[in-house]
């Protein structure tokens, strides 16, 4: 037995008087067609809803920031991800990058050793005063890759004589074209500052204003920058870690 096709059922909903008697008779005695008719009537009944309300843009930013932060395996085809700072939830960053107290101490120790080693090798920093008064490590961060949890070195903030120095000792950075620039990203996810280049490729130290870390600029980020004169972040981050 043939069923009534959807077009005829639709006409039965829209203009019952114009529907041929045969169609109506069939539908009245056919449970399958009756069900489809009911479904169409349901659509007609539900077709009175108000327009949808889009969420504010900040929700989109938060979703993408959270997804990128919590799932470093995901990314674009080449394994790198565009930098997403706007609206990044500070808690999410912290939870992944939080350095336990003991590890922070350890990281700071390593950073100091690395700093001293550099001083001796290059001779550009007098080793003796550094050794006698190394300053106080106020915060440190383990740096990791963004697309995996691979270690990418350490950063530490050292306070000495009312100046704050950020020491970065990176490792395993991608050797691609461009220079490595160091940034501090605010945990509010909205602000960032460039603090200098890793001229040697992997290590460097940078004097920064004392209040900067207190203001929330705690996320150390190393980017690779093409030689294009554009002062903004290239969007390609090689390593990141939060000072704790």
């Amino acid at each position: 037995m043939f069923h009534v096709d959807l077009d005829d059922l639709a006409d039965l909903v829209l203009d019952p008087d114009a529907t041929p008697e045969a169609v109506r008779t069939h539908v009245a005695s056919c449970p399958a067609c009756r069900d489809r008719l009911d479904a169409l009537l349901d659509v007609r009944r539900l077709a009175d809803g108000e327009p949808l309300v889009a969420p504010p843009d900040r929700v989109r930013d938060r979703v993408l920031a959270q997804v990128r932060d919590a799932d470093p395996g995901a990314g674009t085809a080449d394994g790198r991800r565009p930098l997403s700072v706007a609206g990044a939830p500070a808690e999410a960053r912290r939870s992944r990058n939080r350095v336990p107290v003991w590890a922070a101490g350890l990281a700071a120790g390593i950073a100091l050793v690395a700093g001293l080693g550099l001083g001796r090798l290059t001779g550009d920093a007098p080793a003796t005063p550094e050794a006698t008064d190394p300053g106080t490590v106020v915060a440190a961060a383990d740096l990791t890759a963004l697309d995996s949890d691979a270690a990418r070195g350490v950063a530490s903030a050292v306070e000495k004589d009312d100046t704050l120095t950020l020491r970065v000792s990176a490792e395993g950075l991608d050797d691609s074209d461009g220079v490595h620039e160091v940034w501090l990203i605010n945990t509010d996810g909205k602000r960032m500052v460039a603090i200098g280049f890793l001229a040697s490729g992997d290590t460097g130290q940078f004097d920064v204003p004392l209040g900067l870390i207190e203001q929330g600029y705690r996320i150390v980020d190393i980017s690779v920058e093409p030689d294009d004169g554009d002062p903004t972040h290239s969007g390609v981050s090689l390593a990141r870690g939060e000072l704790a």
Binding site: L14, P51, L52, R60
Partner: protein, 194 residues
Amino acid sequence: MVTGVREFEEQDDVVRSLAARLVAGDESALEVIYDRWSALVHTYALRALGDAHDAEDVTQQVFVAAWRSRHTLTPSASALPAWLIGIARHKIADVREARARDARRSEAVAALPVLDAVDQSADGEVAERLVVRQAVDELPDPRRTIVLLAFWQGLSHTEIAETVGLPLGTVKSHVRRGLIQLHQQLEGVRHVPR
């Protein structure tokens, strides 16, 4: 007539491939999915919870959860929106549960469980109404305008023909195809296991 069906099938392919890209871990697919269905999820949460802040939170949670549990999605056209609505339903329930806990803690609202039951039974209909609304808004014009005039404004086919300046037969055909397309979208969301 046939064009309506073809448009619909092309739409299906777009959604199916979006779902497949999401399952494969393509972040840009999540962005497209967000752009297309965040208003649906957000409006659903807004209606169900009546609070702008909670609705934003739920919207955020739904799409983050969708990403994290993307492996559980079957890449089919209708499964994707139904799946998002299913996740939203759970997140909305979580918020309600938390509210009920708070209310119990403050010993304020004795009648809350009853209210809640009423709310939740109406939820299905709220979601379906939103799906239909989204479906009409995604129709290409002039079909969208014609269907809105017919169903939302309650105009007769003759009145619509005068308003949009199209022959009566064309208007009727658009209304009929429009109804069927809305029906197909709604069925897709209804007949997916939750």
